[in-house]
């Protein structure tokens, strides 16, 4: 039975009506946020101290270059390479007899300038060994199965591993940007035990970042991740701190009893709303530092910095490790090459679009994969029982 849209239509109309009614209020909140952002009276050093002393349940960006700085896109080198990687996966299906999963990493290495070239490739890998299917604690007492959210994080690690391997093949003394899709912050790990974080973050993702940091010793190599249409409010939350009448912002202790609720005036505003009004096409915002707990505790000299970049009518969030943020040349390379990539790619980086095309696994691909697994088992006379639920979904009847 398909979705009965006639039953949904009235609910959609009510939702749109609500959005329309709130439009004027949203405009006022955005204007207040912009006025606060551009307020020349803000003492940035005092604000930094107030942010550092804040105890909030919401994430407040740390300031590096102030609040309202705007940088035009810098000139790019004549010859450069941009590398992107992206991944797709087929998750473990508990209704199938055979436990396994597949990660397909797509990559694009595009060289621009005097010797233009492109290498597009994909690398599917099947994981079915015991050590692939679970992450074990060092003492062997605990295990975490690799599926669902954890598999998504493992895929991020593999994307980064491919990126580092491709970057290592670049000639010395070249200019290169390596680009990942999404965030550098493996948020999802905060909910898992220490040994899982150690395996996937420290021994996996951060080890790859270490490798790339080493590679920059003899080439100008920058690393960044690209978040399209970000939902983050880290900078808007800085404005909440600015307008908070208390000397020390303590959301647990003071917000409940606060009567002025000045910070409600920026409620619902997102960082992208601010910067689409502040930045011209190709410009980047000031640099900020992610306040996330996992970054502070784990990332060390890969501490995630970010800036916003205007790409036509969209704002993208660009995340970079500290060693890129602190190197002006690498920062400019990141800013300039991402702008150029978006310009060439109809608003989205070409290398990420091509890496995605290489990586994508469609619904039909998934079906074909499981058919291959099952037919191969049958060929070898191995039993391949599936669940009745799985059979029911695949074989529909009346």
């Amino acid at each position: 039975m398909s979705l009965d849209l006639t039953k949904v239509a009235s609910q959609v109309i009510a939702m749109i009506s609500g959005l329309k009614d709130a439009r004027e209020e949203r405009r006022q909140r955005l204007q207040f946020a912009l006025d606060t952002l551009n307020d020349r009276a803000i003492n940035i050093e005092k604000l930094k101290k107030k942010i550092a002393a804040s105890r909030t349940t919401w994430l407040v960006a740390e300031l590096v270059e102030g609040l309202d700085k705007r940088c035009p896109a810098p000139l790019n080198p004549a010859d450069f390479t941009v590398i992107g990687s992206d991944g797709s996966h087929i998750d473990v299906d508990r209704h199938r007899s055979n436990r396994c999963y597949l990660i397909n990493i797509g990559s694009a290495v595009i060289t621009y300038g005097s010797r233009p070239d492109a290498v597009l490739s994909n690398s599917p890998r099947l994981y079915s060994n015991d050590e692939d299917l679970v992450i074990s604690s060092p003492d062997g007492d605990r295990e975490q199965v690799v599926e669902g959210a954890i598999l998504g994080i493992k895929r991020s690690v593999e994307e980064c591993r491919h990126l580092a391997a491709l970057a290592a093949q670049l000639p010395a003394d070249s200019d290169c940007l390596t680009l990942l899709d999404g965030t550098l912050i493996l948020w999802g790990l905060e909910a898992y035990p220490e040994f899982v974080t150690q395996s996937l973050l420290n021994d996996g993702f951060l080890a790859c970042l270490d490798r790339m940091k080493q590679l920059k010793a003899d080439r100008r190599l920058a690393l960044a991740s690209y978040i399209s249409f970000p939902r983050s409010t880290d900078v808007v939350n800085v404005l909440r701190v600015v307008v908070c009448p208390h000397d020390v912002v303590d959301s647990d202790r003071l917000c409940r009893t606060c009567t002025s609720r000045e910070c409600d005036k920026v409620q619902g505003v997102r960082d992208r709303d601010l910067f689409i009004n502040l930045l011209e096409n190709g410009e980047r915002s000031a640099l900020f530092i992610s306040p996330s707990k996992i970054v502070k505790e784990r990332y060390g000299d890969h501490r995630v910095h970010f800036f916003y970049l205007r790409v036509d009518d969209e704002i993208a969030r660009i995340e970079i490790p500290q060693w890129v943020a602190e190197n002006d040349r690498l920062l400019d390379l990141t800013h300039g090459l991402i702008s150029d990539q978006c310009h060439c790619g109809q608003g989205y980086p070409v290398v990420l679009a091509e890496a995605h095309e290489q990586a994508v696994v469609t619904g039909a691909d998934r079906e074909n994969f499981w058919e291959l697994v099952e037919s191969s088992m049958i060929d070898e006379h191995l039993p391949s029982p599936g669940s009745a639920k799985s059979f029911s979904k695949r074989t529909r009847w009346i």
Partner: protein
């Protein structure tokens, strides 16, 4: 399995669809297409190129106009190097003969070309040898093709004449053969002869 193509150099394309009367081949180089009417061979099968196209590698991805801010067409490919990997050039060729142990036959082969078989542009001496007989014209005159057969016949004869010692004598001899084949189809004959110069 029958692997005929042991020659590794000079290949221009690879067969991706094949039937007894024709095959489709994908070029190794973007726009590396043999001209209309060229004689090509894959293994023991000889064929004449009757159609060519360049399109997106994936049916769902259409090329977009990109040159608004570029000075030359070459600049478009320079500023988007991935294009060469996302587009493909293909050609179709109609089978006009095959080589068996004894000699070159200008009629349909017992087996079609193999998928992934290499395709070579025939060298002048091969073209000369093939042009020693006009029996292949009968296949072209009667072939059901998406382009007018007259265009293809004229193009193939022009191509072949270029490697002959006496191109004019070659074309005159071909014209006589066509006059015999198309004795009751004056308009077709006229159309071909008008395209031979």
């Amino acid at each position: 399995m029958r692997f005929i193509n042991n020659q590794s150099s000079g290949k221009i394309a690879e067969v991706i669809e094949a039937e007894t009367t024709r095959f489709t081949a994908q070029c190794y180089d973007l726009y590396g297409l043999p001209p209309l009417g060229s004689l090509v061979h894959t293994g023991d099968v000889y064929a004449i190129v009757f159609n060519a196209s360049t399109s997106s590698l994936e049916p769902g991805r259409k090329p977009l106009a990109r040159g608004k801010d570029e000075t030359t067409e070459e600049d478009i490919y320079k500023s988007s190097p991935q294009l060469a990997k996302l587009l493909r050039s293909e050609f179709e060729a109609v089978t006009v003969g095959f080589k068996d142990v004894e000699s070159l036959r200008q009629y349909l082969p017992p087996q079609p070309a193999r998928i992934h078989a290499f395709v070579y542009l025939c060298q002048p001496d091969e073209v000369k040898e093939f042009g020693g007989s006009f029996d292949f014209l009968d296949i072209l005159v009667n072939a059901a093709l998406p382009i007018p057969a007259e265009e293809l016949i004229a193009a193939s004869l022009r191509q072949m004449s270029r490697v002959q010692d006496d191109p004019r004598a070659f074309l005159v001899a071909a014209g006589k053969e066509l006059a015999s084949l198309l004795s009751s189809q004056y308009d077709r004959l006229k159309s071909i002869l008008g395209r031979l110069s």
